[in-house]
């Protein structure tokens, strides 16, 4: 009941907003039309600079130049990565071939696949990232809700502890953690990366708690009070009212958590230094070391770059796929949630 009415409320609000912005747009268009009719200096000026920051022609041009430039900077390494890894030996040697290879060659990809031990490493990376993302979404939401709305003893102290955890570099605690996990017999397994996430810690856990806290404190209090009057306890309110409407925050935290857990090479390399099967992120540095060694021993391989690029591509590919699917919710979530305040 509550959920559906809320959903309707949210829908209504966005529609109203859209309508309002539409009206504004047509009004400004009309104004622009009126301006166009008189050829005074002011008209030219307002065409060039606009009455609002984002309306002037000159500004538009600058905007696109800036954005396209920066977008190119962001995309260039990706394009370089993809084009380099499919270049065969003749293309790599040919100075005329810069971006577009003459033929697509899959040898480097196959080699990287085999060197990374891709199937196994992929499985490990996927399970570590998925588990920690799911656990962190849940446990950080619980903790964030408690910090935002509930009363408990020493709340200020624990909030200070949360901020402290956020600021603290992981290196301060890494060595005792290694000893602790060694004591527990978890070294060389991926448990040290997973278990802390169950409790709202782990990689950047404090940040996620803060995001959830921020998000929950922006929600109107009336719904909870209504539910409380209806006799629901905190647990029920949290699962039935708060979690269902926090989709945007959940998407943002899930994606961040997944991506960071996937990319993180520091914790795995500290906790799994002796393991046979390592996550992909560690696999890359292992592969680098292996390639460097081979190169020193006399270089069976003339081209290191394409293999490295192929490996990088293989590591990043699942993230790109994930992002392609969730990007719509993510962008919307960032806008609508209080990712901040």
């Amino acid at each position: 009941m509550i959920r559906s009415s809320l959903g309707r409320l949210g829908l209504f609000k966005t529609k109203a907003e859209e309508a309002a912005s539409g009206q504004r747009l047509t009004a400004s268009h009309r104004a622009a039309g009126r301006r166009r009719s008189d050829f005074s200096l002011r008209a030219v000026r307002s065409r060039l600079f606009g009455l609002e920051a984002d309306k002037g022609l000159l500004f538009r041009i600058i905007l696109y130049i800036l954005l396209i430039d920066v977008a190119f900077i962001y995309l260039k390494p990706v394009i370089y990565m993809v084009t380099t890894m499919v270049k065969a030996a003749p293309d790599l040697l040919d100075p005329a071939v810069i971006w577009v290879p003459t033929a697509i060659y899959g040898g480097h990809l196959a080699e990287a696949l085999q060197m990374l031990n891709y199937a196994r490493s992929f499985g490990i990376s996927l399970s570590v990232a998925t588990l920690s993302a799911v656990f962190q979404v849940f446990s950080c939401a619980v903790a964030g809700y408690a910090f935002a709305r509930l009363e408990f003893p020493l709340k200020k102290l624990w909030f200070g502890a949360l901020l402290f955890t956020f600021i603290m570099p992981p290196q301060v605690t890494i060595l005792p953690s290694i000893l602790l996990f060694k004591e527990l017999g978890w070294i060389n397994t991926f448990l040290p990366m997973i278990v802390p996430t169950l409790f709202g810690h782990g990689l950047k856990g404090a940040l996620f708690v803060l995001i959830f806290r921020q998000f929950f404190s922006t929600l109107p209090k009336e719904m909870e009070e209504a539910a409380r009057i209806d006799g629901a306890g905190s647990l029920r309110i949290f699962f039935r009212v708060m979690l269902p409407i926090s989709r945007s925050a959940i998407v943002v935290v899930f994606l961040f958590s997944f991506v960071w857990a996937w990319n993180d090479a520091y914790f795995p390399s500290m906790y799994m230094f002796g393991a046979q099967d390592v996550p992909l992120s560690v696999g890359l540095s292992k592969l680098n070391a292996q390639l460097a060694m081979e190169a020193q021993e006399g270089g069976l391989r003339a081209f290191l770059e394409p293999v490295k690029m192929a490996a990088s591509f293989l590591i990043i590919l699942p993230l790109l796929v994930l992002y392609a699917f969730t990007q719509r919710w993510f962008v919307e979530g960032v806008e609508r949630t209080g990712l901040v305040e």
């Binding site: 920051a53 538009r60 800036l66 390494p77 903790a143 060595l175 953690s177 810690h201 992002y323």
Partner: protein, 310 residues
């Protein structure tokens, strides 16, 4: 809380009404207690995690920094050495800390403003309405995916970090000529890896984008009706409204830069010598705290000076 809710001391005459009131108060007090219990239930896992995975290792690493630690088959042996490791790192042997730290700090000081200004600019641009906005947003969120991984180092090694313009304008040469060597090096490093700076701005752009949404549209409408031009709208409305997010980003950037695994100090914290590494980590942590504290201090000053005008 419960004391406030409790009614005034009952008068002896109204016996029947009294008992009712007392009951209601007790129920209310019970409800408050129950809420506290529920709250404790919600926070308990986090507190447990904090004690086990943060507080215990923290205290233990502080303990280790004052001790010589030997890991043996039977267990951990420690012999107290007092402040010897701290003295060694801070005064005797500069190599471990200063050689890497100073250039890094200078680089960070150059990088942080660039990151902040750049991400604020991009976020404001992305917030405007124009054709292809969605596409640009998708592209601009890419750094969030790449920048946390090993991939970024891989890209840097390919020389993707530098802009062609900079080498062709010979900016390095100019810098070396007009600045002292201790600053010219880090600055030209930052410029040399300028793209890297842009890559680090992913999350900051997100924070600014979300923060920009908190400034009500009606404020801009009002400014437009009053005939404010875009330039003064930016300085009078957007920027003051963004101040909290600028500082949030400042702190995030400091924390992110200083805890990045490829950071020179962090790579020195190894399992080779637990005592020295712990001492180093603690000294480094104090430096991070100093920076964050400085940022917070500036924030409180700025906030105080802004608040009367708002």
């Amino acid at each position: 809380m419960s004391i406030e809710l409790e009614p005034a001391r009952p008068l002896p005459k109204q016996n029947g009404g009294n008992r009712k009131l007392g009951l209601a108060a007790r129920i209310r007090r019970n409800a408050a207690l129950q809420r506290k219990l529920e709250g404790s239930l919600f926070i308990a896992p986090w507190v447990f995690g904090f004690l086990v995975f943060v507080a215990f290792p923290l205290v233990y690493s502080l303990y280790m920094s004052f001790h010589q630690v030997r890991i043996t088959v039977t267990g951990v042996q420690t012999t107290p050495v007092g402040l010897a490791y701290y003295r060694e790192i801070l005064f005797a042997d500069g190599g471990l800390l200063y050689d890497d730290l100073m250039p890094f700090l200078r680089e960070a000081l150059v990088m942080i403003p660039i990151i902040l200004v750049f991400s604020l600019m991009i976020a404001i641009l992305l917030n405007m309405k124009f054709a292809g906005r969605t596409m640009f947003r998708v592209i601009f969120f890419l750094p969030v995916i790449f920048a946390s991984g090993q991939i970024i180092t891989e890209f840097m090694n390919q020389g993707e970090g530098s802009l062609g313009v900079i080498s062709s304008l010979r900016i390095d040469y100019m810098l070396a000529r007009y600045l002292p060597a201790s600053w010219a090096g880090p600055i030209s490093n930052v410029i040399g890896s300028f793209v890297l700076v842009l890559w680090y701005s992913g999350v900051q752009i997100l924070i600014f984008l979300a923060g920009r949404q908190t400034i009500a549209r009606s404020v801009y409408e009002a400014a437009r009706i009053d005939g404010a031009d875009p330039w003064s709208t930016f300085w009078k409305i957007t920027l003051p409204g963004m101040v909290p997010f600028i500082f949030l980003n400042l702190i995030y950037t400091i924390v992110d830069l200083f805890t990045y695994p490829s950071n020179p100090i962090i790579s020195k914290v190894t399992t080779e010598n637990y005592g020295v590494s712990s001492a180093l980590a603690w000294i480094y942590f104090m430096i991070v705290l100093l920076f964050v504290g400085l940022a917070l201090l500036i924030y409180s000053r700025v906030n105080r000076s802004l608040s009367p005008t708002r």
